[in-house]
């Protein structure tokens, strides 16, 4: 993984000092709340329902065991012994005090981590495929490019006061595991007809109140021009993005109101003027970063006899193996998903003990590294096949081996009304209701992506869930709007509204009815999405609303 040099370290250390001073000035009344707000947000600090919330970047989802232990330590020292992993490869702490945040940031800096631009109207944490570098379908490892973009975006003098937040995601595989199509900019690594490496550039995707799938602004840009092209898009957005209404300030609205072609003309004109400038990358620049992402020294010809035996003798292990692990591009190794969707905790949450223990497991079994996913789980990416059984036993003890990766109980869920000051409705209790109802049949139901947000800001990505749940406020009561048929895989798609919103006490039954229509109609191993597309929404609508009468 990328390791800070002296220069990187100095920047995060100096950033901590800067924020410490800003916090002091705020507490002494030298900065107003209005002035302090964007400054604290750009250091990850929100003021939430109960306490401040601190969001920390996990750049492109890559963590060392040492860094994970620091999260555990921070949760013990400054919070309530847990952290919440988010859809954009961040971790959030919900209970720190404002005064302690500079100390937390200093602790993070000591392990090469930071919260710079994890919030605010600036370029956010660059996210990527959690399986980068280990999946077999990869065109190119996107992580070095994510790091190049991270550095360019960090404390960018021109783009720190944008009209609104700006999110970039990069994928190196045809299968989109980073939701790139619902980002302000989505980058897909490509090799063109001349054999050159570069990116397809998508622009204007996003969720929230107005969900939009990103459109291709440039089918191919060579790697040397990626920063200048990003700079051209950002400059165009910074100049012309709307600032009169925060709900219309994202780049997706600018692209829609300008029209993709006209927007593209503006960007291309800007890019032509700067493409040969200092942002043009040379091979040495790229190689210097790539050197940080060389493959681990894998054990060649690793045995799999133990694995084969255990798959026969232990059916629970076999179920976990089938559900929670995936093929690795290196023979003899396997990718292991650590489920943060146990029935006993809110989706995406991990306790300090779990974090410490996973750090130890990463050291023992996966080269001391791990990843966080868009689906709010953790991944040990490089596990020897014959270590799987031991690893599984330990994960079981830690309540981190729930056999539900990709299933209906592996849901994406925002913190909702319990923590968030924006939310209209709670998500965590609905998630618990769904988990209880479907826990025993999750595997049998197969892949179903269920995503839930407590308000239309859509942090739980409900619009791209095969089953989407959106919390709405109806005269002070919590109601839920359901959508079906969304997707965030290869070709993203927004879900269709099922019908009128549903009262809180009926939501789990409604999901049960949706699932029963699927079960009645599916053929053989047909997945939910396919059955839905074949059968159409009406059958689901009839079942949910007829039985609700």
């Amino acid at each position: 993984m990328y390791l800070y040099n002296e220069f990187d370290q100095k920047i995060v250390d100096e950033r901590v000092n800067e924020f410490r001073h800003q916090t002091q000035r705020y507490l002494q009344g030298e900065l107003t709340e209005e002035q302090f707000r964007p400054l604290r947000l750009m250091n990850g600090l929100y003021i939430q329902t109960h306490a401040p919330m601190l969001r920390i970047n996990i750049p492109y989802g890559l963590l060392s065991s040492k860094q994970l232990r620091m999260f555990a330590q921070i949760s013990r020292q400054y919070d309530k012994n847990y952290g919440h992993f988010t859809t954009r490869q961040n971790i959030q702490f919900n209970w720190p005090t404002l005064e302690s945040v500079p100390d937390i940031l200093a602790d993070l800096a000591s392990v090469q981590m930071h919260a710079i631009q994890s919030s605010g109207n600036c370029i956010r944490n660059v996210t990527s495929d959690p399986l980068a570098g280990v999946c077999a379908d990869e065109i190119e490892d996107p992580r070095p490019y994510c790091e190049i973009i991270r550095q360019w975006a960090t404390l960018h003098p021109e783009f720190s006061y944008l009209p609104r937040k700006f999110k970039i995601a990069v994928s190196g595989s045809p299968k989109d595991r980073a939701a790139t199509q619902v980002h302000d900019i989505g980058l897909h690594m490509k090799i063109n007809e001349q054999g050159l490496l570069g990116f397809e550039v998508l622009v204007g995707g996003g969720l929230g109140r107005t969900p939009v799938i990103g459109q291709t602004i440039r089918p191919f840009i060579e790697q040397e021009y990626i920063l200048s092209y990003l700079e051209a898009i950002l400059r165009t957005y910074n100049r012309f993005g709307r600032r009169d209404n925060k709900y219309k300030a994202r780049i997706k609205i600018l692209v829609r109101e300008t029209g993709l072609d006209a927007f593209k003309e503006l960007v291309e004109a800007e890019w032509q003027a700067i493409k040969g400038g200092p942002l043009r990358l040379n091979n040495d620049d790229i190689q210097r970063i790539k050197n940080h992402f060389t493959p681990f020294s894998y054990h060649q010809g690793a045995s799999d006899t133990l694995l084969t035996d255990k798959l026969v003798s232990d059916s629970t292990f076999k179920q976990w193996y089938q559900q929670n692990t995936q093929a690795h591009k290196q023979r003899g190794y396997r990718i292991v998903f650590v489920s943060l969707k146990s029935p006993n905790r809110a989706p995406g949450d991990a306790t300090d003990q779990q974090m410490d223990a996973v750090a130890n497991l990463a050291d023992s079994f996966s080269f001391g590294h791990l990843r966080t996913t868009h689906d709010q789980n953790l991944v040990l990416t490089d596990v020897k096949q014959d270590d799987l059984y031991t690893l599984w036993q330990q994960l079981e003890e830690l309540d981190l081996a729930t056999r539900n990766i990709g299933t209906i109980t592996d849901m994406i869920c925002c913190p909702g009304l319990d923590f968030c000051s924006l939310a209209n409705a709670s998500s965590i209790d609905i998630a618990q209701g769904i988990t209880e109802r479907f826990n025993d049949q999750a595997i049998e139901l197969g892949d179903i992506s269920l995503k839930m947000s407590g308000c239309m800001n859509g942090c739980g990505h409900h619009s791209i869930g095969e089953i989407g749940i959106l919390g709405v406020d109806k005269k002070g009561e919590q109601w839920y709007q359901l959508t079906l048929g969304g997707s965030d895989s290869q070709q993203s798609q927004l879900g269709q509204r099922l019908g009128p919103s549903i009262a809180k006490e009926n939501v789990v039954n409604a999901i049960d009815n949706i699932v029963s229509v699927y079960k009645e109609n599916r053929t053989d191993n047909e997945k939910f999405a396919k059955t839905f597309n074949r059968v159409g929404i009406q059958a689901f609508k009839d079942k949910v609303y007829d039985s609700n009468k």
Partner: protein, 149 residues
């Protein structure tokens, strides 16, 4: 009002042109509209001219006029409005304006380093205290990832 430039507090040798008495000599700042309407008279002006722009001004509206001015003033209406940053950047790099570019209006001391890095060469603050703080904040970072202007 206190002005900083080149890492120190400097005297302000400029004033806004009184549009009712435009013939008054001395270094004067004029709005773009006033300049466009009175170019010929102002050509005879005794003293240097500065051009006042808002952060959302389109460079095409003034880029051919730049050689008449030895100062560009960009007004920032609200410190969270980042358009002035891109405008200064364009004036400096695309239109190759080599003289003073000044930020006025709602500027936080914390933004001083950013503003200088996108091409501003002077910043105006409402008090000497804020100007001094802004100067000290220029030392907050010793390294940067982006190329400087």
């Amino acid at each position: 009002m206190t002005l900083i430039s080149n890492k120190q507090i400097i005297a302000d040798n400029w004033r806004l042109l009184d549009e009712t008495h435009p013939t008054q000599p001395g270094n004067s700042i004029v709005s773009l509209q006033f300049w466009l309407d009175n170019k010929e008279h102002l050509g005879q002006h005794q003293g240097e001219l500065g051009l006042l722009l808002s952060g959302d001004e389109n460079p095409e509206a003034f880029c051919n006029e730049l050689n008449h001015f030895s100062l560009i003033v960009i007004e920032i209406p609200n410190f969270v409005d980042g358009r002035a940053y891109s405008l200064a950047q364009l004036i400096r790099t695309r239109y190759q304006f080599g003289q003073e570019i000044r930020a006025i209006g709602d500027v936080l001391p914390d933004q001083a380093g950013y503003l200088f890095r996108v091409g501003f060469s002077s910043l105006q603050f409402s008090t000497q205290e804020l100007a001094t703080l802004a100067l000290s904040k220029l030392n907050d970072f010793s390294h940067h990832y982006q190329p400087a202007i």
